[in-house]
């Protein structure tokens, strides 16, 4: 009887499946924005500002911006899902209390959720690529591998957002997280302009930030150039997700099981 309950993979899959069902339950309102977001971004900044800007790193500005945009929506969806979304499920709807009364643990619950959010990030990157391809802004076939970066980028932000959520007492505290951390990343991570244009001391900071590495990986994949920096970025993504993932899951478990 000890081993009658489902194994780890099945338990994680079941949690992942719960989120997929909820997401798919509102397909129109959930699946349209990922296609509109990159479009608005490109039109807003690319069409307006793009024409008056010089080429960057040997690309037209709009092409430079387009590659940066691919993982932006993956970051935002992960940050929202695992702050407001997680908090509401945990504190208001009490959904988690219900879920862990079945044969899954609190750890399974949060790891399954991270996997779902990462999947969602991959879908968002895919949606961005579809939009970019319509405008002829997917320069190489390898650029489509940015879907993978979308997966891991969303995974990183899922982990750090869960970590932040584990400390939050009222939902309004998330405003600080978005204003002071998530939003500035747009300008400090090589999305709209290269980090090389920033003063040296700011550049040092940018390499400590997660989005910088996700964007750098997209650009490396697209150009097919791999150097030491590429592997450092991969290492950063793994380490960042690991540290904040473990801490976030542990601290959140304490809020559910005490």
């Amino acid at each position: 009887m000890n081993k009658a309950y489902p194994g780890l993979v099945h338990r994680l899959y079941a949690v992942w499946w719960r989120h997929v069902r909820v997401y798919a339950g509102n397909l129109f309102s959930n699946a349209t924005p990922p296609f509109l977001e990159p479009l608005i971004f490109l039109m807003g900044i690319g069409l307006g500002l793009g024409h008056s800007l010089a080429p960057v790193d040997g690309q037209s500005y709009i092409q430079y911006l387009a590659l940066g945009v691919i993982v932006i929506s993956a970051m935002f969806t992960a940050a929202f899902e695992n702050t407001f979304g997680t908090f509401i499920r945990m504190e208001f709807d009490k959904v988690y209390d219900g879920m862990i009364a079945a044969s899954i643990t609190a750890e399974n619950l949060f790891v399954g959720e991270i996997l779902f959010v990462a999947t969602k990030g991959a879908f968002f990157a895919f949606a961005s690529l579809v939009v970019l391809s319509i405008f002829g802004l997917v320069p190489t076939a390898a650029t489509w591998l940015a879907i993978l970066v979308g997966f891991f980028c969303a995974g990183m932000f899922a982990c750090v957002s869960l970590f932040v959520t584990s400390f939050v007492k009222t939902i309004n505290h998330f405003n600080f997280y978005f204003t002071l951390f998530i939003s500035p990343l747009m300008f400090l991570s090589g999305v709209v302009f290269p980090t090389s244009m920033l003063p040296d001391f700011v550049r040092a900071i940018t390499w400590a930030l997660p989005l910088t590495h996700a964007v750098a990986l997209v650009r490396d994949l697209s150009a097919g150039t791999f150097h030491l920096q590429t592997f450092l970025s991969i290492g950063y993504v793994v380490l960042f997700s690991g540290v904040f993932g473990v801490l976030g899951v542990k601290l959140l478990k304490r809020r559910l099981v005490n």
Binding site: R18, G98, S103
Partner: protein
């Protein structure tokens, strides 16, 4: 079979902080296929105790043991949750899913194969008389329907043990009786139950054994009818008056004055009738004593919050 022990709680404690001890060295045993009731005022530690049975609340580990079907919740949480249906005090249905999917997704947590699950969901919705609501949203359900759905959810994996934390609080009499009928049926099928309640009639109707607790400690334990017999006189006379002290009585009946009532307890109905004669009809009420009288006698009449 009826003599095997399904739940064994031995000197279990839970302190949330040095100042707040929710459960203090509590012990009891639940036999297989029996319904065991936990009674106690709000804050007595009933829910904490229930949650410790499936490791939702961590017991103090320095002393005390819990055995659920031979397993320790602190070590075999998953194996226990696999065979235990849990009906928590607060509604925690998945508000983002419809009724049918609430059960379908929950069934996936147990790893129930898709086809068997579909049949099971149909059966349970019928059993809990929710068949017409399968496509409704959780927020469209009344309190009674939600409660029934939570019980249906707890039954998905054919549990050997059911933990019911105030299953009928806030429900109308029709729904309460329906739920009691279903619980009695499940008990007949061999399901062991641990139940907390504030309703004395509920405890009396479905529990084989009861434990009254207060401030985290056991106050009384036993078979409901026996508890009444052993711990309270057979009859109660209630007289509505806030000035009971003015009434002089020197007889053998036990006397108690509450804020607006004067009460006399005795095993002799005739004795109480004698007292009642001195009051006008409508001012008094003579009745058999019940579990609530035992409860109030053992846990006191003052508020506990």
């Amino acid at each position: 079979m009826s003599d095997t022990i399904a739940v064994r709680v031995d000197r279990v404690s839970k302190g949330y902080s040095p100042e707040f001890q929710a459960v203090s060295s509590l012990s009891f045993e639940v036999k297989s296929s029996q319904c065991f009731g936990l009674l106690g005022p709000n804050g007595a530690g009933k829910s904490s105790l229930m949650r410790m049975l499936y490791n939702k609340t961590l017991r103090d580990r320095d002393e005390g043991t819990i055995e659920i079907l031979g397993l320790d919740p602190a070590k075999d949480e998953l194996a226990i949750k696999y065979v235990t249906g849990i009906v928590p005090q607060d509604d925690n249905l998945d508000v983002e899913l419809d009724i049918e999917n609430n059960l379908a997704i929950y069934g996936a947590f147990y790893g129930i194969p898709r086809k068997a699950l579909k049949t099971k969901i149909g059966e349970l919705l019928e059993f809990m008389e929710l068949g017409e609501k399968r496509k409704s949203r959780v927020r469209e359900l009344s309190g009674g329907m939600r409660r029934r759905l939570i019980i249906a959810r707890a039954l998905l994996n054919d549990p050997k043990l059911l933990l019911l934390d105030e299953p009928t609080t806030g429900l109308d009499p029709q729904v309460r009786h329906l739920i009691w009928d279903k619980l009695r049926l499940l008990k007949k099928q061999g399901v062991t139950m641990v139940l907390t309640t504030h309703y004395m009639d509920e405890a009396f109707q479905i529990c084989d054994e009861l434990l009254i607790m207060d401030k985290g400690k056991k106050v009384l334990e036993g078979v409901p009818a026996r508890l009444i017999k052993d711990h309270i006189e057979g009859y109660v006379l209630e007289i509505i008056t806030s000035n009971g002290e003015a009434f002089s009585y020197k007889g053998p009946a036990r006397r108690e004055q509450t804020r607006d009532r004067l009460l006399f307890y005795s095993n002799s109905a005739a004795e109480l009738e004698g007292i009642a004669h001195q009051f006008k009809a409508g001012e008094f009420y003579l009745r058999q004593s019940n579990l609530e009288d035992v409860f109030l006698k053992t846990t006191g009449r003052s508020l506990h919050e």
